[in-house]
Amino acid sequence: MASMTSRERVLTTLNHQEPDKVPIDMGGVVTTSISRIGNERLKAYMGVTASNEIVSQPALDVVVPCEEILTHFEVDFRAVRMRPPSDTGEGRQSWFVPKDGKGVKGDHFFDEFGNRWQLAEFDYSPAGPALANATLSDLDTCIWPDPHDPARVAGLREETLALRASTEYAITADIMCGGPFEQALWTRGYEQFLIDLHWDRRFADKLLGKITDLDIALWDAQLKAIGDIVDVVCQGEDMGTQHGLYISPELYREVIKPHHQRLFSFIKANTRAKLFVHSCGSVYAIIPDYIEMGVDALNPVQTGARDMDLVRLKREFGRDITFWGGAFETQYFLPKATPEEIREHVRRNIEILAPGGGFVFAGTHNITPETAPEKAYAVYAAAKEFRNYPDGWRRSS
């Protein structure tokens, strides 16, 4: 097969056809990369001297690796991200990219909603929801991020055009704001919001609606600036836990899905770029809903969660949605595996996911800080080794 550019390769697989090679992602999205500490160790291992990589999401303490690493691993994506507003107000940290691009200093920060994030061992956890005690009418008066601040998209078109002119990478874009459900959990508090869904449906629905309005306004600004020159647009929205959805599929369809429908429809109507949606955990039960709403790609395909077996997912949904992840398991497997086990794990997962296209090589989440650098290296070395269509992943002996 004639070789393709990265963009052709990505769009081919997203259209459920087989490209020349499986596209490789590392850092195209804030959940397909490597932790800041993991990246430092990987650089030392590879003898790479670059420094000052941008922390793409401070709460996850995740970076976009340097060009030398991305080129070495033949990564097919480069990302453009919505910028911080000119003024986040009242000691709040922009959501999520800090102004200096270097992560957060200190043991906590407040996001644009006023939620407190507290440093755990390596990354930050939500530990002080801004609307914990809010009432229905408080939702009309609370301080909310301003989606119309022109600083959010300043220079974004120029950056994207320059990237398009000088490279053939597929370009991903995101708004750096959570989806309605996960943002509601962070802003109201996990337990309280899940209780609200039953005991105070009006409040829950109004909060979801407000966040959806904000997401749409952010996408409006983003897509007006670059909607015609990016290839994939990425929305985060965690719906899953290790054991299943946070909420029942019925409750999802009744309360959450209408907001998803509105958000995804807006995005689809305002760009030709493919729609990528991230949800950790076990989301098997709502993949058909995502397909119905026009979601093109699902990330990160957390294979360690219940009902997330790759063979079954590929068989049942592989023709209708692209799996952007699942190629290596970062939670249980990777930290403990040997490089040779990693090579076979990656080969096997490519063998399951690659046929027919609809697959982007990425893990089940970012590579964690404690994962030894030779393991991170082994993952992408195996990706390069086994990525060739029509069957470069076939066991050789």
Partner: protein
Amino acid sequence: MELRQIYEYTVSGNAPKVKELTEQALAEGVAPGEIISKYLIPAMAEVGDRFERNEFYVPELLIAARAMQGALAILKPLLTDTDLKPAGKVVIGTVKGDLHDIGKNLVSMMLQGAGFEIVDLGVDVPPEKFVDAVKQSKADVVALSALLTTTMPSMKTTIDALQAAGLRERVKVVIGGAPVTQRYADEIGADGYAPDANSAVRRTRQLLGLA
């Protein structure tokens, strides 16, 4: 009144109804211990079973637990020592370095719903705090939670600290959380592992010889 409604409204998470019926039952002379053991505890067991079968999800578990807690708040001050003995005492917390609490809270609620007395130390709990709590409360069980692969080693540190303080033989240690496995429990010398809130109750009861 039909006392069984306390059970039904607890399962369906109707807190105002559970509170109202509990007060009514007390007024009619029903013993507080009987309300707990015959209606609240079985209701929470049913909720746990439905959760395990994916018929209930986290929200339903939370509202049932809140309904139960509303009744317990009324009933507990009325209990006498002979009335109802707790199934056991559990010191629970998320280990040092880890700030995630929803899993730990669910386990805590379910244990409470099974009649255990809970000493909840919260999140980011250093080993010495577990040690102190076990000493003070004379707990039967220590339940450790971790959501991060990077904080799992704190479980071992905590078990080691219990050992060093001479308390290890006095308590059972049960562990859980997203990245935790039975193999890991065996590796670090925990007595039990539970993958979710309901099996945490089952495992704890087994360890104490109650099941």
